[in-house]
């Protein structure tokens, strides 16, 4: 990966700003609510954020894709649906736990997707883990192959046949489903 020096400096500056804002929020050293202001913490924050930026500036922001802004908006629009799915998942698991006969029938399923980028695969894996009745076991990033443990037949079919979630994630990251 070769980058021009100018770009590298801009990247380091962006990482420094992110880290420093995080420091200010965490240490609460400028607090307008009770008039608290401590210069020691502010200067210590500059030093610490600078050292961390010098050592590991290439870890926070690694890949630069195109249309990042549109993807971010689509991701934000995806989150409410995901939250609703998490609610459904919790009621599903609570029903299975509290039912006296425990209606579970576990199985392992495998399916392929056409997603390739790391971020899309991570989002889909976390979504599968949090939504009703399924947990990701393993991913093959080269083939986009997912190994999923499903707790019953119905959630497995929802993932294999309907493919609602896969299409939504592919739409967010603008890849073909």
């Amino acid at each position: 990966m070769t980058r021009s020096k100018e770009h590298n400096v801009g990247l380091m500056l962006a990482v420094f700003v992110v880290l420093y804002v995080f420091w200010l929020l965490m240490s609460a050293c400028i607090n307008p609510l009770n008039g608290h202001f401590s210069p020691v913490h502010i200067i210590a924050g500059i030093i610490c954020a600078g050292i961390v930026t010098l050592l590991s500036h290439d870890l926070l922001i690694t890949e630069e894709g195109e249309m990042t802004l549109a993807k971010t908006f689509r991701l934000i629009a995806y989150i409410p649906w995901e939250l609703w799915q998490i609610f459904l998942a919790n009621f599903d698991v609570a029903y299975r736990v509290l039912h006296p006969k425990m209606p579970i029938d576990p199985r392992i399923i495998e399916f392929d997707t056409t997603l390739r980028s790391d971020l899309a695969l991570t989002t889909l894996a976390n979504s599968i883990t949090l939504t009703p009745g399924t947990i990701t076991i393993d991913i093959d990033p080269g083939k986009g192959r997912f190994l999923v443990h499903a707790i019953a037949k119905k959630p497995a079919d929802a993932l294999l046949v309907d493919k609602t979630m896969i299409n939504k994630v592919a739409y967010v990251y603008m890849e073909e489903a």
Binding site: A94, V97, M102, P106, N126, T129, L130, I135
Partner: protein, 105 residues
């Protein structure tokens, strides 16, 4: 003391506590390792996030709310990843999943 804010916060915290108790009951009741992770991975995430959102509502606007928000964000990201890591380790070392009709273990 019984303002609207306190009532909303209490309802959120009670819901979170219910899901956390359900998660632990699932950890004790389900028949094998993989199904137990189904209970803990989902119920614990939503239960803790609900409790923390209740604390945020109770706290109002301050720096502690921002810290609680970061905590909530971190739990949302870290809990599924931790579940996934343990599950992958168990699967790759050859722990067989429980099938319907077998004895519990």
């Amino acid at each position: 003391m019984f303002s609207i804010i306190n009532i909303i916060a209490t309802i959120l915290i009670a819901g979170g506590a219910f899901f956390m108790v359900t998660g632990v009951l699932g950890l004790l009741r389900f028949p094998d390792f993989y199904t137990r992770l189904h209970a803990t991975g989902k119920c614990d995430t939503l239960g803790e996030v609900l409790v923390i959102v209740g604390c945020m509502v109770y706290q109002g606007w301050s720096f502690i709310t921002i810290k609680l928000f970061f905590l909530m964000f971190f739990i949302f990201l870290a809990n599924p990843v931790g579940t996934h890591a343990i599950m992958k380790a168990a699967y790759l070392t050859g722990l067989k999943p429980w099938k319907k009709g077998e004895e519990r273990r």
